[in-house]
């Protein structure tokens, strides 16, 4: 939806009040409508192609091809230190699921930013949880719902030992809420090209080098804030 399409509606609102709406009010109203439209359609990542001067949806095919050609993810999704003004304590993890970034808060208004993959449509979530435990080369036990819908997961219903083929990758941080396992994890991956995508069953995935770095810098008990607009709030399992 473009702002041009909104213009007649805004003019009607303007006349009905018998006065000029403040530009800020108009912009806010337009934004509210745009936001409502955004909730209705999923927020998607796009990548710029300098050869065509155009933006393209960053879907699984494009992401896989990009990784094949460059041997790495786009620059924005690489680990980097960024300015980050927050009142949250250093050591807190803040996840922006819509933009596919995970921030580890550092002192002096800085953060380490990592690229992530998040839950596909219907599997994303938002909430405030904690790191309940950590594991190196974690064993993967697919939850019952995943076993029921995914034949690949069903093969490992009894658990898959940790290792390079394990979908949890090199490390895992287990997310707890009120002392209970949420079944969600922050973990590594065997699919490094999938960073930047909505692809998982609700877990947050990082490249293996990145999850090792995060694992080494996060303590059990660390607060984890998951922001994901358009997704349901975590309300327990």
């Amino acid at each position: 939806m473009s702002t041009t399409m909104l213009k007649p509606f805004l003019e009607i609102v303007d006349r009905s009040n018998g006065m000029l709406l403040r530009p800020f009010g108009i912009a806010s109203l337009a934004c509210a409508i745009l936001i409502a439209a955004a909730i209705a359609s999923p927020i998607e990542t796009q990548i710029y192609d300098a050869r065509t001067n155009q933006w393209y949806n960053y879907d699984q095919t494009v992401a896989f091809r990009y990784f094949e050609q460059h041997g790495e993810v786009p620059t924005e999704f690489k680990r980097q230190i960024v300015a980050f003004r927050t009142a949250e304590e250093p050591g807190t993890i803040i996840i922006d699921g819509n933009r596919h970034f995970l921030y580890l808060v550092l002192p002096d208004f800085k953060a380490i930013r990592y690229g992530i993959g998040v839950g596909k449509e219907g599997f994303g979530w938002a909430g405030i949880v904690r790191v309940g435990r950590k594991a190196e080369w974690p064993r993967w036990v697919p939850p019952a719902e995943m076993v029921a819908r995914d034949p690949n997961a069903a093969k490992w219903a009894g658990g898959m030992p940790g290792g390079p083929d394990n979908p949890l990758g090199a490390r895992a941080l287990y997310l707890y809420e009120g002392g209970r396992d949420t079944i969600y994890r922050i973990h590594g991956t065997t699919q490094p090209w999938s960073i930047g995508l909505n692809i998982s069953s609700g877990c947050i995935r990082l490249q293996n080098d990145d999850i090792i770095d995060l694992y080494n810098n996060v303590k059990v008990g660390a607060k984890v804030i998951v922001l994901m607009q358009g997704a349901a709030l975590y309300k327990g399992v």
Partner: protein, 106 residues
Amino acid sequence: MAFIRPGQGIRAIVTGTAILTLTACAGGRNTPEETIRTNVRTAPAELQLACASETVTRLQLGDEQLLPISSGEVTPNVYRIDFNTKGGPAFCIIDGSGTVLSVERA
């Protein structure tokens, strides 16, 4: 080594600089600073959290923990962030520097 006549070197430098400048301008004109974006410009995470905190304070929501349900850019570098509070919907307007411009019940 080739000999350069007086004035020829300066002309070459000026011409070369002009070509380089034009090339750089043409190449950079349409290239965005970022190569990744979302189709909907949501507010940066730090602004979402700052607005959540300020909304709790200004609306006296006690220990309620707010998470945004939506956000978007109202005007360049100014964002509106929407919340569902126990007392109903509310929104917060914040600029890119982190200054909260307003908090209101929706």
